[in-house]
Structures are given as C-alpha cells and as structure tokens.
Amino acid sequence: MTKNSLILVCFFLAVITCVINGCQGQQEIKKAQFFTNGQSLYSAKCENCHGAKGEGLGNLYPPLTDTAFVRSIRHELACIVKHGLHKELIVDNRTFDTEMPANPALTDQEIAYILTYVGNAFGNELGLIDTEEVSVHLKNCAAKNSARSIDR
C-alpha cells in the first residue's frame, strides 16, 4: 500500500467517525429537547399521582422507578398514557389496580416528550422515544384497548 492511499483511508475513517458522532450528537440534542418538554408536560399531567420523583403514592398509584418494569413495557407505554389503563399491574413487587385515566387530548408528539422524560428520569435509561415510535405503538394498541374495555 502506498503512503498516499494510507492517508486516504485514514481520511475516510475520520470522516465516517465524524458523521457517526454528528448523528449521535443530533440524537442527544433531540433527546434533551424531548426530555425538557416532557418534564413540563409530566408536571402538568402525571405528577399529581406519580409524584415529582416518580415515587407514586402508597399502593394507590404505581411508582415509575421500577426500571426493569418500565423497560419491559416500553412498547405499551404510549397506549397507557393515551388510553389509560384498567388492569392490574405488578410494579416494584406490589399489586396496583387503581384505574389510570385516559389522556385522549395528548398528541403523538406530546406523548413522545412525556415518555422521553419518564424513560430517562427516575433511574430509567430508555434513550430517546421519538414521535414515530409513539405513532407506531399507538396504531397497534387501538384494537387491544377496545378489548380491554369490553373485559371490564
């Protein structure tokens, strides 16, 4: 390999690294934006029950600090926020059955803000949950949710 081609390879590697870093940087910025917007929505819509530190309230309202649980239902979070929840949950080794009210007025983007906040606060590390992910999850829960209400 000539000296020149070696320099060329190094240059390309450098460019690729920069592009990847740049993307990650953008992703980080977007996550920070979603997190901040989500924080104010959380305090308006969620904090009354789930607490400023996601601690919940007694055995009435579940905490959001059970990181393994939150991670395990990532694909259901959007549906729960939008349509509420009428079934029993075991969180933090405790059973919760208080009905969660629906928030039908929230847009997909607002839900993405809230979930990015909850997903990266209180010890959770879910990374960015963007509007596209929320929209996909919401399409899949429509049928399930009507079944849920029939169950009751």
Binding site: N48, L57, G58, N59, E99
Partner: protein, 214 residues
C-alpha cells in the same frame, strides 16, 4: 459596645417570647351579641362554628362532630377517583398524619364529595392503599346534600360538574378547626409551603391549649 450586645440579646429574647405567645386568627363570620349579666350589659363576640354532623366513615361506623370535641382537626373535600389535585392533597395529609401520629388532640377529616361512587367500602380501600390505619384520619361518606352543605360551612367550594376532570369541581383547601369548632386557618393543600405553614400553625394552636391549661 457591651451595651449594644446586651440590648440585642434582650431584643432577641423578647422576640422569642412573643413568638411563643402567638395565637392564630379566628376566621369566618362573627356577630356581636349584647347580654345582660348581673344588671350589666356585656358584649360578646359569637364566631362562626362548624355545626354538628353525622357521617359514615371508612369502617362503616357513624362519625359525629362529638368525636372531634377534644381535638383540633384538618378538614378537606376530595373524591377517590379524582384525577387532578386530590392525590397531592392526600400525599400532603399523609405528612400531617405522620407528624402527629398517635396525638389524640389531632385528627383529620376527609369528606368525599362523590357520594354515589365513594361508598364506605371504596373509602376503606383508598385508606388502605394510602397506608392509613386507625381512626386518626377519618374518610367520610354522606348524602350529596349533607356534604355540600358542610363544604359551605367550611367555606370550601365543591359542586358536581360534568365538565371538570373526574366530574366534580372543588377546591383543595385544608381547613384548620379548633376544639371550639371555629375556623383558624385555610391552606392550599396542593402547595408544599402552605402545608408546612399548616403544620406550624397546628403547633401554635396546640400550644394555645397547653398554655391556657397552665
């Protein structure tokens, strides 16, 4: 210089003494009543008081105003399915309960404004889940009219309203009542600073009684 220091110290001591003697205001309506006593006319002030009541609590037992005769208490109006301010109010009343746990001179009285849904059984489940035991904090059920009439007496607004979140429009006040059933303070039950003020005022009110006994 020495003179200034001793003056400052005595001023501080005086200020502390004033603090100890502090009394809470008496709120609500009042009227002056003039009576003839031993041939002399004496003017007395009649303060607004909470009238007697009977409700059913979370254990399906009757709770009456007599049960509160020898204690100061905090009253509020809420409902168990309330999605807005009530959880914060309950969390803050838990702080009050924890501070005065076991003190027979302190009670809490939460009125449900949703008489259809909040039966004693539902109130019991709510209290259990909140972690409330014993009878220091009473959750009471009554007819809609009785509860709303009572809310007026505590000067708290509460009405059924289909437009409001959860179906009821109400205020999140914590009302502090003394042993004579007079209103001694009103605090925003959703505001941490005001709840802290409530607990400071409860200490003042309790000390009014212990000072009067001396």
């Amino acid at each position: 210089m020495k003179k200034y220091v001793s003056f400052a110290i005595s001023l501080m001591l005086w200020a502390c003494a004033q603090e100890e003697q502090k009394r809470l205001p008496i709120l609500g309506e009042r009227e002056a009543v003039t009576k003839e006593v031993n041939g002399k006319s004496i003017t007395d002030t009649i303060y607004q008081t909470i009238p007697s009541f009977t409700f059913i609590n979370q254990d399906s037992m009757a709770v009456t105003s007599k049960d509160f005769d020898n204690s100061i208490y905090v009253a509020d109006f809420f409902f168990t399915s309330c999605p807005s301010i009530c959880p914060t109010m309950s969390k803050n009343l838990l702080k009050v309960l924890n501070k005065y746990q076991g003190n027979s001179e302190v009670k809490i009285l939460s009125h449900s404004i949703d008489s259809k849904y909040d039966t004693p059984w539902v109130l019991k489940r709510y209290a259990d889940k909140l972690g409330v035991e014993g009878n220091q904090w009473q959750f009471v059920h009554g007819s809609q009219q009785d509860i709303y009439t009572m809310a007026d007496k505590y000067m708290v607004y509460a009405k059924e309203d289909a437009e409001a979140p959860g179906g009821f429009e109400h205020q999140g006040w914590f009302i502090l009542i003394d042993k004579e059933k007079r209103i001694r303070g009103a605090y925003d039950g959703t505001n941490d600073d005001q709840v802290a003020q409530l607990m400071r005022d409860m200490d003042i009110l309790l000390s009014e009684y212990s000072n009067d006994k001396k």
